[in-house]
Symmetry: D2
């Protein structure tokens, strides 16, 4: 007897990542833990949670809160991540992570050092 999750559960719970991020993160000076932290923030945003807490992010890594906090600051300083203020439909303000600086580095290579041809 099989006890797999339903296919629907598998198919409806996936995250989409640009190949370029996986091809270029090391050339951009990121290491694996920083890459995984960026992917986890992208996954949260894709699921509608724009500002996961430090506790939530730490629980998605193998590290502790102090290290996770330091990594977040470093990603912001190096220009991969920013925090923005957002106004929702009830005119309430909240903070949100934005990965736009990361995507611009990957997809607008002329602004940055030219990213070489795909699939290295």
């Amino acid at each position: 007897m099989t006890n797999s999750l339903p296919f629907q559960h598998i198919l409806a719970n996936q995250v989409v990542i640009p190949n370029l991020l996986l091809q270029k993160y090391n050339k951009l000076g990121l290491d694996e833990i920083e890459l995984v932290l960026l992917i986890q923030i992208h996954r949260s945003i894709s699921n509608g949670n724009y500002f996961p807490t430090l506790q939530e992010l730490t629980s998605m890594l193998t590290t502790d809160e102090q290290t996770c906090s330091r990594l977040l600051r470093k990603l912001i300083q190096k220009g991969f991540l920013k925090i923005e203020r957002q106004e929702n439909s009830q005119e309430q303000w909240s903070e949100a992570y934005s990965l736009e600086p990361l995507w611009e580095k990957l997809f607008e290579p002329v602004k940055e050092e030219r990213v070489q041809n795909e699939d290295g």
Copy 2:
């Protein structure tokens, strides 16, 4: 001057569809409007809306509510779609669409008529 949507908006709002669905829908006896209706239900489920209303589904197609309702009944009768009762964490019951019958037809080909080799 460019006025594109932010990359983050584009990347965080996508839906993932099995190639097999796009390869086999016509061999399974589905036409394009039925395929698109199934895809829209899959998109709703992926976004956490498990029971889109008839009005919502109709607004995602080029058809009217009467036709959309007829298509839903036909998909259920033909065994591509079912409606299930779900209990949430507050012990409230609600209805939900399930595409599990569709995915089983595609991914468990032995039960059904054998689906031929990929990418036809």
Copy 3:
């Protein structure tokens, strides 16, 4: 006994579609068969086949070659699709479909009639 396809086969053979295409195709004047044709071209390109033949595209629809050919011409005339000449690494020229006009309509809404807020 279960005879599912391997998970790896399911997970490695998927196509990613922007939500905006599924939300806006009817407002852009496309019907379901045109939408599915565009999705099939996008799937071919994603799989590295940039210029699927008329036979290949027709086999992915419920229609015949004559209708498929007419639909392709219509999509080009309406500015959703174009055919480009590409030079490969062996300096050989070939033709390729480009969906860039479609993506620009969806993601650069200011150029076109303004696409309203998400998830309508």
Copy 4:
């Protein structure tokens, strides 16, 4: 003036990853570099390259070949990865990575220690 990559290039070059992998890798005893190595193998397979070389895999990480080789052996020993012999349509045999053991751990939780409720 903008110099973005074409939308088509961005949209056609993405990889799809199950949320469960990102939610559970640390509970399965994997660290970030092992996770990224598994993701890179999944990306290769999704792109039709079933047996990336050690050199290719190393170039996708921040590590050296010796460490990458050690990680591959560890992933195989711990039951996340296996190497299979495949016969192609010309009756030639070749080796291929399979991530089926990883997906089974994630999607057939009863066989393994029960994976707790989603989105931890």
